[in-house]
Symmetry: C2
Subunit: 322 residues, 2 copies
């Protein structure tokens, strides 16, 4: 049987058709449009297009999974809040289901979906208890405990970005001071690079942005560090030290087998991961602690994980043979 | 059926006999003595004494559970390391089992045992996903996830005291700087009270210790705060702010239903818990976050939880009707 995975973002809706071996055989991306009914109609149209493209009948479609950047009610029926999509108490599952009366539809948080994709096809393969941290504008996270997606004890999900790392430190978007997100997000890296640039006008950070703070990106900051710029290296080492504390903390708290790190910053590869592993190792309480690795599923993670959702949630872990 | 719970500490071995309703009907406490064989012999003798005292035959004893301040191998057979007891790779289960061939013997970490006691008879009753933090010289912790004791993803246990709270902050006993334990243990409270006492010689903190740092205790510091001493109140409020960040962090990370706090410091009651709840509420990411409550089982927690261990671990959660 085939599965459809949908990843709804504030800019685009990405859709993929996965074959029985969970390989992507067709995909599409269309602009997001506001309104639950509109989104459901777009998805219905695109799903039909993907099936036609692959020559697959609806009778060979086992499930449709949909990931959103927001919270889902415990029964999986409503999008409680997805601020970037303007969804609040939105009955998205039912709206999509109306287009596909015979096919099970499942909803998930996008970080949870990405975590499933890493569990079955990516960096967390073979783990029973592990986490994915996705580093972008903020920090998203998903957790697998005893082989299953962990939705939190009260079904609110998990927010590893809002663990305090520097009590009373930098302001976080959530209103608290010093969260992991305020030190380990790409936004935080950019903030520190801007500060360094302003302080050191003879730096590469300054030269490559022509002194324009708006020109600073995480990639530019990391590239300056790779090129040996002292100011950029200071920023990058401080960043790694903070990220190392955040990862060691979750390893100490839960004794995870593995933490995968995704998002743009993880593209720095071993330049990031080699010193990060050393830092984490120094700070781990248990000698035989879990490891920290790059995520493997990239931008497709949410879509692929969404396609896995229904079977993971409703039937236990039947994908574990992957 | 009756059960025996044993809590082995570096000073005393405490034993209790629990009746079929899990009520303590007899108890004993004897000095600890070094060596696994010796400890097993002491336990055997004391168990016989407790049974005789209660007029119960060995045939009515369902299990013996033993809690130690250390790590246990995943199969529950060896004490891997219990530094305070001098146990390393100690086959304690087998040694005790030799005295009671017909009765199942189970080993656990003492924080895990205390958490079970709170789950079935104390502050965590009715929870499926919750944690116990025990605040003493250090910070011990246990976690319940989906109704079961969570031993960590690699069976090392959980160490919520070694989550970084103030990155690069005060030195922790584990070698890392800024752990929860370095700010929220009784030891940390005493450290801060000593500093305040040295800085403010007109304080109650100074008067009641006669300026002797060695006379400072957590209780004395809290009592000075209760009596309105400005220096002690500063110390206590900072302590609460740190503890609030630590508790909010675990609530944000795992969306727990409840966190119970035990150990000497929790004896401060609402003087601690009322401001702590306010602080935690301010820092929680989820509006409908879990609550923070005093532990209820006191010093008996390890012993009572040890008695529950065998049935919780081997038979699922049959105690949940308690």
């Amino acid at each position: 049987m085939y599965r459809i995975g949908v990843d709804i973002g504030g800019t685009n809706i990405a859709l993929g058709l996965l074959d029985p071996a969970w390989e992507l055989v067709a995909k599409a991306s269309v602009p997001f449009a506001r309104g639950g009914q509109k989104v459901a109609a777009i998805i219905a149209e695109q799903v039909a297009g993907l099936l036609a493209q692959a020559g697959i009948g609806q009778d060979r479609l086992a499930s449709i999974g949909v990931a959103v950047p927001g919270s889902i009610t415990p029964d999986g029926s409503l999008v409680l809040h997805a601020y970037n999509l303007g969804f609040h108490h939105e009955p998205l599952r039912e709206r999509i289901q109306a287009h596909f009366p015979q096919i099970p539809v499942a909803l998930a948080n996008d970080a949870d979906a990405a975590t499933l994709a890493e569990l079955y096809k990516g960096a967390l393969r073979g783990c029973k208890t592990a986490a994915l941290y996705t580093i972008g504008t903020g920090i998203g996270g998903g957790m697998i405990i005893n082989g299953h997606l962990f939705h939190g004890g009260r079904s609110n999900g998990v927010e590893p970005g809002h663990v305090v790392l520097v009590d009373e430190g930098e302001a976080c978007t959530c209103g608290v001071k010093g969260c992991v997100e305020a030190y380990c997000s790409a936004t935080a890296l950019i903030r520190e690079a801007r500060r360094a640039m302003a302080a050191k006008q003879d730096s590469l950070l300054f030269a490559r942005t022509k002194g324009d703070p708006d020109a600073m990106t995480a990639k530019l900051a990391i590239d300056c560090a790779k090129d040996g710029d002292a100011a950029a290296l200071d920023v990058f080492h401080s960043y790694i030290e903070k990220l190392g504390s955040a990862i060691a903390s979750v390893l100490n708290m839960l004794d995870l087998e593995r933490v995968a790190i995704g998002g743009g910053v993880s593209g720095a590869g071993e330049f990031l991961f080699a010193p990060l592993r050393q830092d984490v190792d120094k700070k781990c309480f248990f000698e035989n602690h879990g490891d920290v690795v790059p995520a493997q599923m990239g931008n497709a993670a949410g879509m692929v994980g969404a396609a896995m959702l229904y079977e993971h949630e409703r039937k236990g872990s039947p994908l574990s043979q992957l």
